[in-house]
């Protein structure tokens, strides 16, 4: 499971550099996200632009990662590819997450808000 992380201002950008987020890597993903979110950024943007395939286990892992963030902290999504976006819309989880077109839009949004 390949995940990279860097800070862009106050925002932690976490990039999944795998083309599948599925049952085979869901547990590893949750573990990595738990460790990364422990670094304490108030806002994490999960960049999924390289993820071509997401199944229900991968979706559950993303939701779990958001719940791990806890009070007052946010996990937002960026760069959903068409098949991934479809899973979010079919399950209506697109109503729960803030979804940005890409990480540039996500960080620009932070600057405006700040």
């Amino acid at each position: 499971m390949q995940i990279d992380s860097h800070m862009s201002g106050d925002v932690q950008i976490v990039t999944v550099t795998e083309d599948r987020l599925d049952a085979a890597v869901a547990i590893q993903f949750k573990d990595r996200m738990r460790a990364l979110s422990a670094q304490g950024a108030e806002r994490i943007v999960l960049d999924m632009a390289e993820v071509r395939f997401l199944d229900s286990s991968g979706l559950g892992a993303v939701i779990s990662a958001m719940k791990q963030m806890g009070h007052g902290r946010r996990l937002e999504l960026a760069g959903l590819t068409p098949a991934v976006a479809k899973v979010f819309s079919l399950t209506r989880m697109d109503t729960v997450f803030t979804i940005h077109p890409d990480t540039a839009a996500a960080t620009a949004c932070a600057r405006r808000a700040g």
Partner: protein
């Protein structure tokens, strides 16, 4: 009927009922679909339905034990892909013929319960049969409708 199709069979193969076995089955299955020149939307729907079906077998029929095998067959029909999955694991409680459970409420941040919701969104003619020691699930994914 999906289980008795006389159309050309694209794939029939047994795989370990493990996360890696499921990935292998998906790679093989999607490769066999290439000559059909399906749309990206059709291919995405097929890959998702197959993943949910096969992960259900690994996680529920075999209880995530890492033991057991599943058999996947794909058959091209003029306007659909017919899918049959068999395994020798535990019976599916209720089965897909029963009433659909309420979809998970997004606001409650559910981490599961999405698998059948995603299958039903894309599949038709879902037929489950339990025979002694064996599950068989057949369905169709309509293609070429975009």
């Amino acid at each position: 009927m999906p289980c008795t199709a006389a159309s050309p069979q694209l794939l029939r193969h047994r795989y370990p009922a493990t996360p890696d076995g499921v990935r292998s089955a998906l790679v093989d299955g999607m490769r066999k679909l290439v000559p059909l020149s399906l749309s990206p939307e059709d291919l995405a729907a097929i890959e998702l339905v197959l993943a949910e079906l096969l992960n259900n077998v690994a996680e529920h029929a075999y209880g995530g034990s890492g033991r057991g095998e599943l058999d996947l067959s794909l058959t091209a029909e003029p306007d659909a892909l017919a899918v049959m999955v068999t395994d020798e694991g535990a019976a599916m409680p209720g089965g897909p013929a029963g009433p659909a459970p309420a979809p998970p409420n997004p606001a409650s941040l559910p981490e599961g319960g999405f698998g059948w919701m995603l299958i039903r969104a894309h599949a038709r003619d879902i037929v489950y049969r339990r025979s002694p020691g064996r599950n068989r699930l057949c369905l169709r994914i309509l293609t070429g409708r975009d």
